[in-house]
Every structure is written in structure tokens, then in C-alpha cells.
Symmetry: C2
Subunit: 347 residues, 2 copies
């Protein structure tokens, strides 16, 4: 008994000396298992090594409207670097003011998604990058026209050569896709409050956000929205429990059914990542929910069959707000000029 105080004192010293031995906050432990921290440096793409020259070229192509038939639309037209990597519209405006069928997903952190587009029809960033360029309602150019366009701009020869050294004819559609994909892979948003908290900074996440995180997990949201991107890893029908109204789920868009031709994929969409979601209203593939409150309410009903209370929704929104990370600082690239022989925009 007389030794007890000494033992306690010794135990306390041990705890101080070995802080990692402290029992971890159970919520954080659970969150670490379900989600993941955005790394400071983006991972490499398979078979497409990241070099400074390739990032620079990709940045040029990302901002160059001459990759569209009209010379009026670039990747950045619908995935704005300054607007969370999206465009803040229900659907985007493309060639000849045609409207896209779905809401433009953010390009930020897209590298952490399993597949690209709302229906996952592109397996990676490279395949995605090549899609909108040739889509007749988006940038509306052909692959051969895109290649001829860039070959017709003398100042692109050197950047392509630098990005793809050793290739005798580096200006190809595949290399356009590769360079854009590598640039896009750098568009990550580390150090969101949620990440800092996951890494151990107790003060980074305020109480309402922590409460929201707990509800997000307990209510079942994290069953689909998990991983580094808090989503982006799987597909799910919109309306697992209860179909939402047609204003959210337009009947003519059958989602992944068109990709797989499998009836089980009717109205199935990729679960979107929720990183920076506070910056990218409106929500859903239909761009039909203009607030997080509305989006969370609809999701809870349609996917989980739950009617959340106002305070639960407010808490979840506080958690979602904590997913906004450091936005990429991108210098607007100086593009090589067109010359007399450069193909002109098609009217």
C-alpha cells in the first residue's frame, strides 16, 4: 500500500514518456479505418510517370481552348481551378450552348477515385481526359483534328518533346490524354480540417463537425462514402431504399446501365467523393440539389430510408464543411501562339 503513490507516479511518467500508448479517441480510430488522409504529394499514375515537363504540358492543354472545335472551351471551362474544380452549374454548357446531361464532377482529388465520370465509364484519369474533348456536346472536336490542331501550333513541339522524350512523334491523342491526366493528378487538396484531425490535431475539428462525423458513420453514410475521397470507390443505385423524386433522378438518365448493359445497374451511379463538397454545389448527377442540407436530407431518405432531424443534418453539414482542403495554386499557363498556318476555329 505504501508503494501505491510511487507506482502511480511511475505510471504517469510512462504515459507522458510514451504518448502513443494513450488510448486513441474511438471516433478517430473508427474514422481512420473508414477514411484516409489526403497525402501532401499526389501518387504516381501507373505507366505515366510524373515529370515537371509533363505537368507543365498538361497544364497548358488543360487551359487551352484550341482543343475545342470553337476554340472557346477548355477543360477549365467546366472544371474551374478556382471553383473547387467544378463549375457551379446544374450541368455544363458545351459546344453551341448545348447542355451536358449531368453535373460536372470536381477534378480535384479525382486521382483517388476508382473510375471516372458519374457512370464510371472511364477507368482512369487518362481515359477521362480524352472524353469531353471529343464529345459533340462538349468540346466537339475529333481526335485527328485535336492532334492536327496542336501540330499546327509550332510552340507545342518543344513541350511535347520534353514531356515525352525519345518519342519521334510525340503529339498524339494518347499523349494529350497522358499529359492532362498527370496535371490533373497534381490537383489534390490536402490539409482539410478533417485530415489534420485524423492525423492527431484535436483542435482541427470543431465539436459540431465531430458530432456530424459520428452521425455520418452511425447513420450509414460511410457505408458508401468512404476511403480517401469519402466516396468515389463504388457504385450504388440512387434510391437504394426509396426512389427520390424525378427532379433528382430524371427518368431518361439510367446511369451505369448504359455502360454495363446490366439491368441491375439501372439508375446506378458512382458514389461521389465528398472532398470540398461545400465548394461544389449543386449536387447529385442531376445537379438538382443546391444546398448540402437538401442533399443530405434527400440522401438519407433515398439511400438509408432515414428521416434525419434538423440538428443531425446541421451536424453532418458541419462535418462536410470540414472536408474543404487547401485549394491548388495554379499559375495560368502562357500558351504557345497560333500562327498563320494553325487550323482556325470552326464556326
Amino acid at each position: 500500500m505504501r508503494l501505491a503513490p510511487l507506482t502511480l507516479a511511475f505510471g504517469a511518467a510512462l504515459v507522458l514518456a510514451l504518448p502513443t500508448a494513450r488510448a486513441e479517441d474511438p471516433l478517430r480510430a473508427q474514422a481512420k479505418q473508414l477514411f484516409g488522409v489526403i497525402p501532401e504529394l499526389a501518387p504516381e499514375l501507373p505507366d505515366n510517370p510524373k515529370t515537371a515537363a509533363k505537368v507543365d504540358l498538361g497544364r497548358m492543354l488543360y487551359f487551352d481552348p484550341r482543343l475545342s472545335e470553337s476554340h472557346n472551351i477548355s477543360c477549365n471551362s467546366c472544371h474551374l481551378i478556382g471553383l473547387g474544380g467544378a463549375d457551379g452549374r446544374a450541368n455544363s454548357i458545351g459546344h453551341n450552348w448545348q447542355h451536358g446531361a449531368r453535373n460536372a464532377p470536381t477534378v480535384f482529388n479525382a486521382i483517388f477515385n476508382t473510375a471516372q465520370f458519374w457512370d464510371g465509364r472511364a477507368k482512369d484519369l487518362k481515359e477521362q481526359a480524352g472524353g469531353p474533348i471529343v464529345n459533340p456536346i462538349e468540346m466537339s472536336i475529333t481526335k485527328s483534328h485535336a492532334v492536327a490542331q496542336l501540330k499546327g501550333i509550332p510552340g507545342y513541339a518543344a513541350p511535347f518533346k520534353a514531356a515525352f522524350p525519345g518519342e519521334s512523334d510525340p503529339i498524339t491523342y494518347g499523349n494529350i490524354e497522358r499529359a492532362i491526366a498527370v496535371f490533373e493528378s497534381t490537383l489534390i487538396t490536402p490539409d482539410a480540417p478533417f485530415d489534420l484531425w485524423l492525423k492527431g490535431d484535436d483542435a482541427a475539428l470543431a465539436e459540431p463537425a465531430k458530432k456530424g462525423l459520428a452521425i455520418f458513420i452511425d447513420a450509414g453514410c460511410a457505408a458508401c462514402h468512404n476511403g480517401i475521397n469519402i466516396g468515389g470507390r463504388m457504385y450504388a443505385p440512387f434510391g437504394v431504399v426509396e426512389k427520390p423524386g424525378w427532379e433528382y433522378l430524371p427518368p431518361n438518365d439510367h446511369g451505369r446501365l448504359a455502360v454495363t448493359n446490366t439491368i441491375a445497374d439501372d439508375y446506378v451511379f458512382k458514389v461521389p467523393g465528398l472532398r470540398n463538397v461545400a465548394l461544389t454545389a449543386p449536387y447529385f448527377h442531376s445537379g438538382s440539389a443546391w444546398s448540402l442540407t437538401q442533399a443530405v436530407t434527400v440522401m438519407a431518405r433515398s439511400q438509408l430510408g432515414k428521416t434525419l432531424s434538423d440538428s443531425e443534418i446541421t451536424a453532418i453539414v458541419a462535418f462536410l464543411d470540414s472536408l474543404t482542403g487547401k485549394q491548388p495554386q495554379v499559375v495560368f499557363p502562357i500558351l504557345p501562339p497560333s500562327v498563320a498556318t494553325t487550323p482556325q476555329p470552326v464556326e
Copy 2:
């Protein structure tokens, strides 16, 4: 007579010791009188002091498509920072894919122009900045809608307060114009080879460009294209000596006549500055000449009544190429996000 060699030697030593006493290259002396060097720092705008906060706000507004009715068009849509401050199209695409009536002039160095727009209808950058936003075929918003839009984005409150300190209600249309004007005033392109040569660097201008400069002056081009911007200081009829074809001078665009209502201004336009002209094809208010060779040929005939030889034209183009300066490095601004109550794009 015996002293002569000594005198000569003394004279030679004097020349070496006082290089400024050396007779200046007469071409440079003439060029210095006619033109001007782009300064490293842009001048201040009258009644609109340049502060870091105002430049930052102006940069945000310049890139923010929410200043258009569709949330799809920003200043940068037609005056691309990476394309010489213009868009490389004959005329620009605006709201609902409407086409502008004239070629988008470069925003770079516009601060050095006497007035803005092809017809000079805006007296300065501030007045210009407010025009396209409310033009129904460009960004197509109303002034009150633009103000309500920005007031509806909570993150704009602080930047406006910082840019216009002491104002109780700083989000006004006038302040939108002021901030954009100040940002635009920073978009200058110093250190073109021509500037370096004007400042005394003999090697900066190659022989063909010097020859072209001499022809440019002798042929009479510099009668209109003079000053810091090699133009931008006066108005002139397109076709002083001989009207060009209607493909260059569309009959329905009477130029400055519509501004002054004076018959002497029929088909009169502002003389465009020629800084960075190699980057901003196509040329003329009609955007109808796709090469400098073509533009120089047409100008010589229509404005001077001269048919230049191929070698003269080549030399002038070499001179024009020497007017490309250091392009502005602009970081794409992180724009404040829309929230649930922010006015949505109008479809």
C-alpha cells in the same frame, strides 16, 4: 601639323571615356521619339489607387463566371491571360452562343490606350470593364443582378471591404469596375526585344527587325501606330486611301460613327496597339486577317496606298514579332464559394 596625331589620340580617348557623347544610332533616336518603353511597373489609374487588396479582388472578379447570367462566361473567356490577352477567334462567343460584332482586343497594356473598345466608346479601363458584363450578347447580366450575385456570395464581403476600406456598402457595380480595372492595369508586358533595344541593348533587336522598324517608320505606319503601345492613341478610318474589301470592312459596322454620330467618323476605328501582336491573330476589328503578312499587306494598301514588296513585309513582320514582351504570370484565383442562398445561374 605635328600636333595632329596627338589631338586625334586625345579625341579618341575622350570618346572612350564619355560613351554617352557618342552619336546615337539615328534609327533608335527616331524610334525613341515615336514610341515608348513599357515600364516595369504599370502606372496608377486616376482616382482609383492600386492596392494589393484591390488587385486581388479584381483578379477574382476577372476570372469569376458568376458575373455572367449563365455563370459560364468571365472576362478571361474572351481575354485569356494565356493567349496574349485575347481569344484567337474572329469574334467572341457570348451568352447563348451569340457572336460578338468585333474581334476581342487584347487586355494587355490596355492601360496605355487613349480610350477602350474598337470605337473608343469607353474612356478608360473602369468604364470598359463594366461593358461586357451587362452586354446582352456577352455576359448578359444586369448591373443590379451582378451586385446581388456578389452580395449573395458571403466570401466576397471581406475582399470588397479590404479593397474599398471605409465604405459601408462596398459591393457596388462601380467598385466591381474599379477592382477589375486595377487588376487589368497590372497586365502589362515589359521587356520586349524592342524595349530592350530602345533602352540601349544593341543585340536585343536582330537586323531584320531593325530593317522592318525603319520601313515601318518610312512607309508611314508610325503616323498612326505610335506611342508606348505602337497604337491605341488615335482614331482613323479603315481605308484612308483605299477602302479594303468588305471581307475586312463589313458594311454594317460603321465604327465610331455610332459613338459620335458624326459622318466623318464613318468606318473610323481606334488604331490598335501592336504590342504582342504576334500572339493575337486574327487581326482588324473584323478579325478577318489571320496572318501578320496579310494584315500588313492590307494596311499598307488601304491606309497608305502602298504595295509593299515581299521583303518589306517580311521585315515589318520581324519588327512586329519583336514587340512580344514578358507575359503576365497570374495565379488562378481561388473564388469564394456559392452557398444555398446565392443566386443560381439563369437558364
